[in-house]
């Protein structure tokens, strides 16, 4: 049997709620009044996924690994000018369409993890709700705009190996 508490639990419980009430009245609430004041999310918060279009090779790894199938990619192959003078023209994948449907996305972040070319990033931005559900489909221009909100990558730990 646990030891008998000095103050009976029933009285103690009343004390806790009353104490919280006076603390809230004196020091303010733990919550923020959202539309007027905003809480800054932690920099690694999963708010929205941003796309760096230059890095994307339309390899489809993200689209295939997405559990919700909410990434739509279309691309075509085209010839790019050679790197060195006199070389052969290179064949590259050009990205035509890169859409993420945030009505379907469940913010698992597998696409960000799986991207081999560092084209997808997490941004802590969270205010992009829409009155129409179709507007939650962000195209590559909009996803590119989110790049401005992506925070700087934190310093690597001492002794960590950079890939």
């Amino acid at each position: 049997m646990p030891p008998k508490p000095k103050v009976p639990g029933l009285i103690k419980g009343l004390g806790v709620t009353m104490g919280t009430m006076f603390r809230t009245a004196k020091n303010g609430a733990n919550t923020v009044q959202y539309p007027h004041e905003k809480e800054t999310p932690p920099i690694r918060a999963r708010g929205v996924i941003a796309l760096r279009e230059d890095n994307c090779t339309a390899c489809m790894l993200c689209a295939r690994s997405c559990p919700d199938w909410c990434i739509y990619i279309e691309g075509h192959k085209q010839l790019a000018p050679p790197r060195r003078a006199g070389g052969k023209p290179r064949q590259v994948n050009h990205l035509d369409r890169f859409d993420i449907d945030y009505a379907l996305c469940m913010y698992c972040g597998i696409c960000v993890e799986v991207c081999p070319f560092d084209a997808l990033f997490w941004s802590p931005e969270y205010e992009y709700s829409e009155p129409r559900i179709a507007d939650l489909l962000h195209d590559k221009t909009k996803l590119g705009e989110w790049m401005e909100t992506v925070p700087e990558a934190p310093e690597l730990e001492a002794g960590a190996q950079k890939k």
Binding site: L10, M18, T20, M21, T24, A29, N30, T31
Partner: protein, 352 residues
């Protein structure tokens, strides 16, 4: 309200109108205040948040906004429900509250009826709401509502008894069942030779007060006695199928009844509208100055807020009883204790 309020003669229709208006104010004003002060603000602060802040200054118009929202909603009646009874049930619940406030005196002349058996009437009418709740649950054609209605009936009947028995002690001590006489008795007698404090019966009937408040908590189906509307097991109990206007009536009824029961508790145990008569040299109810008709209701209101504050404080702090614990607590603890309280009060009354 007798024929002359503040020395102005009023015809019979005027008196009736005043009574109706007084009843509306006495029920709806406390209900609104309770909802704002306790449900919106005190509960929020106890949970370290601010509660509604947008509608009006500090969210004070929130209840009006909610009422207009509910009035716009569709009045849904389930297909298999017994429509007539389904519609009438919330009105019975609210009507019992309005009938309850009829016997409550708010001042030496500010009452709606000065009923000789006021305590008996109040306790009898207070249990009419059981019928409303039971038929609300039964007519909804929903098993959750049905279970909630049955639980409510079982609980309200179980806690009606200790409530009545707790009041008997007060009635013995005051020597009257008239609520006005009970107020006078508390303010003319004295305790320990301290004539400035009067004799609020909470001092001599503390056990009765405790039992009464616990029973009121159960009568109002507030936590920890909210088995009938236990949302985690019964959706919302007997209120499950109600929407819009009818749900609003249940909602208002819940807090209006809390206010009216707190009025009655303040009359029975805290001295009601009165101040100790020796302060101003009054000795009987007829010698009281007229301004008590204005100050009395304010004193009642502050005592009501205190008692409802305790009820709500307990409600926001405690988790819910299990159904069998709830019944056992009523029948095995409260009723024997209140019977013992009556016996001891009667012996002491005869002895002194």
């Amino acid at each position: 309200m007798i024929s002359s309020v503040l020395a102005v003669e009023i015809p019979y229709w005027g008196q009736s109108l005043l009574r109706v208006l007084g009843g509306l104010v006495a029920v709806l004003l406390p209900a609104g205040t309770i909802v704002y002060v306790f449900l919106f603000k005190m509960m929020s602060f106890m949970q370290s948040r601010l509660g509604p802040m947008e509608a009006g200054p500090y969210g004070s118009m929130q209840l009006l906004a909610e009422v207009s929202k509910w009035l716009q909603k569709e009045d849904i009646i389930p297909e298999n429900a017994d429509a007539k009874i389904f519609k009438i049930a919330p009105i019975i619940v609210l009507a019992s509250t309005f009938l309850l406030v009829v016997v409550v005196p708010f001042g030496p002349d500010a009452w709606m009826t000065n009923f000789q058996a006021g305590v008996f009437y109040a306790l009898a009418i207070g249990s009419v709401s059981v019928i409303g709740i039971l038929i609300a649950g039964y007519s909804s054609a929903n098993k959750y509502s049905y279970l909630g209605g049955l639980r409510a009936a079982g609980q309200l009947i179980a806690y009606e008894l200790p409530m009545v028995l707790a009041v008997v002690g007060v009635v013995i001590q005051a020597g009257s069942m008239n609520l006005q006489q009970i107020v006078v008795a508390q303010n003319t007698q004295e305790i320990f030779g301290l004539d400035w404090i009067g004799l609020p019966f909470v001092l001599t009937q503390f056990v009765g007060f405790l039992i009464f408040m616990i029973a009121v908590q159960a009568e109002l189906t507030q936590a920890p006695f909210d088995m009938p509307i236990a949302e985690s097991e019964l959706v919302s109990g007997y209120m499950t199928e109600y929407s819009g206007f009818r749900f609003l009536i249940f909602f208002i009824g819940e807090f209006a009844t809390a206010g009216v029961f707190a009025f009655i508790a303040s009359i029975l145990f805290l001295g009601g509208w009165g101040v100790p008569f020796s302060w101003f040299g009054w000795d009987t109810i007829d010698s009281i100055d007229n301004w008590m008709n204005v100050v009395g209701p304010l004193i009642m209101l502050s005592k009501m807020m205190l008692l409802v504050g305790i009820i709500m404080w307990v409600r926001f702090s405690y988790p819910r009883f299990r159904e069998d614990q709830l019944q056992r607590f009523a029948w095995k603890v409260l009723i024997p204790v209140s019977l013992a309280n009556i016996a001891i009060t009667a012996i002491l009354k005869v002895a002194f």
